[in-house]
């Protein structure tokens, strides 16, 4: 009876940890798919699309996550195949400097003009 109880505890704890790991993988998969653009749909992520292209990407992402590949490596794989455009959240590189830095520059410029005017008024 004692042995049976121990087995039961081990079985339940293993099932729970498996369930937790599946849930974690699912969350990661959905996060990635929401950040991947469906290239044959207009304005849809792969997560939202049911196209053949999206289904294939879903399968690939699922496979990569099950293999233990990290989120960044999945993005890198997709970027290698389809370019930066496939990811909604582009990384900082020579093609995206303006995209990332222009708002910051405009913000700083605006702040400088505002500060100058306020100081000048005083």
């Amino acid at each position: 009876m004692k042995i049976l109880r121990i087995f039961l505890i081990i079985f339940v704890s293993m099932s729970l940890s498996q369930l937790k790991s599946d849930e974690k993988n699912n969350e990661l998969k959905n996060k990635i798919l929401k950040n991947v653009r469906c290239l044959i749909c207009q304005g849809q992520s792969v997560y939202d699309s049911e196209s053949d292209f999206a289904s294939s990407i879903k399968l690939i992402v699922n496979k990569k996550i099950n293999e233990g590949i990290s989120e960044d490596q999945v993005y890198k794989f997709l970027r290698d195949k389809y370019g930066d455009w496939v990811i909604y959240d582009p990384e900082l590189n020579k093609n995206t400097y303006i995209l990332w830095l222009l708002p910051l520059l405009l913000f700083l410029l605006g702040g400088a003009i505002l500060a100058k005017n306020l100081i000048f008024k005083k």
Partner: protein, 173 residues
């Protein structure tokens, strides 16, 4: 004087915005893939259409020759349109055609080949579309030109036409 400088700055800013938006009008709002980026051939195992056995992709592209990888499906209407051109390309001995059957019913695919002819040296099966993703494809039909160094040198999205056929022939000359 200060007012004039402010107006000039605003004017230059507006011209800058106008130029960016005006240039943006010419850009298509749908995805246009880069078609002449050189990429290495992916490495994976794939099922053969005839024998239904797993083979390494490196063995499929083993010879020192130019290769065409054509992604096709029996349900794809543009694939029917480009098929006669593939049959014509098959006559060129300095290139080998490999077919990748995409998300298809095997019986329908066999009927398609029996009806229209087989231009391919070998046909591979991509039942779930994941092999096409490895090549960076996003639909059917799509055609890749692979050089003797096993690099994908050109990608043709959509059905090939006579102009593309001439382009391929001029590259492999």
């Amino acid at each position: 004087m200060k007012n004039k400088i402010n107006i000039l700055i605003i004017f230059i800013f507006l011209i800058f915005c106008f130029t960016i938006f005006y240039k943006g009008l010419d850009n298509p709002n749908i995805y246009t893939p880069k078609t002449n980026d050189q990429k290495n051939l992916p490495i994976f195992k794939v099922k053969d259409f005839i024998t239904n056995t797993d083979i390494d992709l490196t063995k499929v592209f083993a010879e020192e020759s130019y290769y065409i990888l054509n992604i096709w499906a029996s349900w794809c209407v543009p694939c029917r349109k480009e098929h006669p051109l593939l049959m014509e390309l098959n006559k060129n001995k300095s290139i080998k055609l490999i077919g990748l059957n995409y998300r298809d019913n095997l019986n329908n695919a066999k009927k398609f080949i029996n009806e229209l002819g087989n231009p391919y040296t070998q046909i591979l099966i991509d039942a779930d579309g994941t092999k096409a993703v490895e090549f960076g494809a996003y639909g059917v039909p799509e055609t890749f030109l692979i050089d003797k160094n096993k690099k994908i040198i050109r990608k043709f999205v959509g059905p090939i036409n006579k102009k593309i056929l001439k382009e391929i022939e001029s590259i492999i000359k």
